[in-house]
């Protein structure tokens, strides 16, 4: 392998293909290298089954979120990035407010990017860990359907574990 002539190597270098992703929410377009975009299993499936045209429309994901997703894919498509670098870069991407994180986790889920789904879910979990229940309800759009008596009864189920609970 090492003795292979230089020109042969150059000849076999593949041409760089690009794909255009378009947010259907605000019509923003992003041109990305194919190998970057293929980290999304959803896009890979489209490309593999020849369903992908020149422009791939991405429904329900805003340009702002799509930019974050592409940033993540670019970082992880870089073969020279060390594990430490990636960790730092991931932390930077998810250093956002909770509503952006929820949009991001839905995007990662739709585009089927496992690593991004993982770091975003973990970040959301960390962010809600110490929040008052009313804030959690607002973030998740959940209504409190307990009566005060019922809620007290739920707390009483685990009374001793709640001792010293924030």
């Amino acid at each position: 392998m090492a003795s292979a002539p230089e020109n042969e190597k150059n000849a076999s270098a593949p041409e760089k293909k690009t794909l255009t992703l378009k947010s259907m929410i605000n019509n923003e377009e992003f041109v990305v290298d194919e190998h970057v975009a293929l980290q999304s299993v959803t896009i890979k499936n489209m490309v593999d089954s020849d369903c992908a045209g020149d422009v791939i429309p991405v429904p329900t994901i805003s340009g702002e979120i799509l930019a974050l997703v592409i940033e993540y894919c670019k970082n992880h498509a870089n073969p020279s990035a060390s594990e430490d670098d990636l960790k730092k870069a991931d932390a930077g991407i998810v250093a956002k407010d909770i509503y952006t994180l929820i949009d991001l986790v839905l995007a990662a889920n739709f585009l089927d990017i496992k690593g991004l789904l993982e770091v975003t879910s973990q970040k959301i979990a960390d962010s809600i860990k110490d929040l008052p229940h009313q804030d959690v309800r607002e973030i998740f759009g959940v209504e409190n359907d307990y009566t005060p008596e019922e809620e007290a009864a739920v707390r009483a189920e685990h009374d001793w574990a709640f001792e010293g609970f924030p």
Binding site: N109, S121, I124, A125, F140, G141, V142, V154, G164
Partner: protein
Amino acid sequence: MEEIWFAINDIPMDVLSRLPVKTLLGLKCVSKDWHRLISERSFIRHQLKRAEPVSGFFFQERFQWCDDDIKAISYIPVKMEGSEVQHSVFNFLPESVVLSAVSNGLICCRSCFPSPQPVIYVCNPLNKEWVTFPWSTPDKRSSLGLAFDPFKDPIDKSTDFKVVTIHQTASDMEVEDEDKDSYLTFDIYSSKTRTWHRSREMCHCHHSLFKNKGIFVGGALYWLTDGDQILMFDVQNELSWLVTVPIPLVQFDSIPEMCIGESEGKLHYVLISEGGLHVWVLEDYLDFTWELKYSISLDEMEKENTEFLCNIQQRVESRMAVDTTPWMDPLAFKDSLLFMRVAARIYLFNFETRKLEELCTLSMLGPNSIISPIVLPYSMSLIPLG
């Protein structure tokens, strides 16, 4: 989008399953839907993959010379700020019990003696659920171990476990001979078949089991003995071994104290001697391969924790007889945390940070708390029973 996202996909389940049990208990108050989700077996199974930290220790006193059991059980939370020692955690059971073993948040205990018909309980004190079954050969001196592995035996439909009891039998009780034929027998209860059976396995062992009993690690139960050996029982294959401890105790001038426990899925052996605080990991039980993991001299430890410790080197060195109470007594070990008594106080030593933290005084745990108490490390789990 936020309003409906909880309902439409499994992301919320994935997010919530990353939270510690205590947070999830609180989140049950968010709504009835969340309460249902957090109580579902499929969710709990998912959540178990997350390593749950030690939340506290259960502590039960024992009489040294009297045959009766002490009923009171204390729970000592790891983070003591704002939380207190609790005394009523097991009040949901129909009678007073003696704690025996813990495994993945489930606790195995038995009726207090004297009892007209002693039974065994396996319970989850967090959701106050329990199952009970008869004890085929009730014997106060026999030791109980709980084998429960929710990863090997998924909890999708039911919660399956095994309880192993050990009886020590000396064929000739009267002869105090070195060669006396003392052996251990094993009875196994399976929750799947709801039956007991006596294992064919027998283990010749001249030592008594003491302190940490029935530590469940990687499919096997381990018991510390008062000799230089640890008893191991492979629950699946019903095989027993005696594992030689990493260092023979006779090599010390004074009497050391030890305990065993689990951390990162492996058995650990903790020794406090005049040489300091040492922890070994059992890497291979067939070859008795122990690897030294932590080593701290008593002077170093004292220097780093001057607010709690004073003159411990001399105190530990001066223990010359087994029946003198040790100054420092390692009582339980789990996930790099050592629960130990020093003089009349209970401390938690974190081997990773090398920090000592006072948890409580012995007086908060009862008048008999100094001599060989039962101590179980506890990590909360949502696992349902019954």
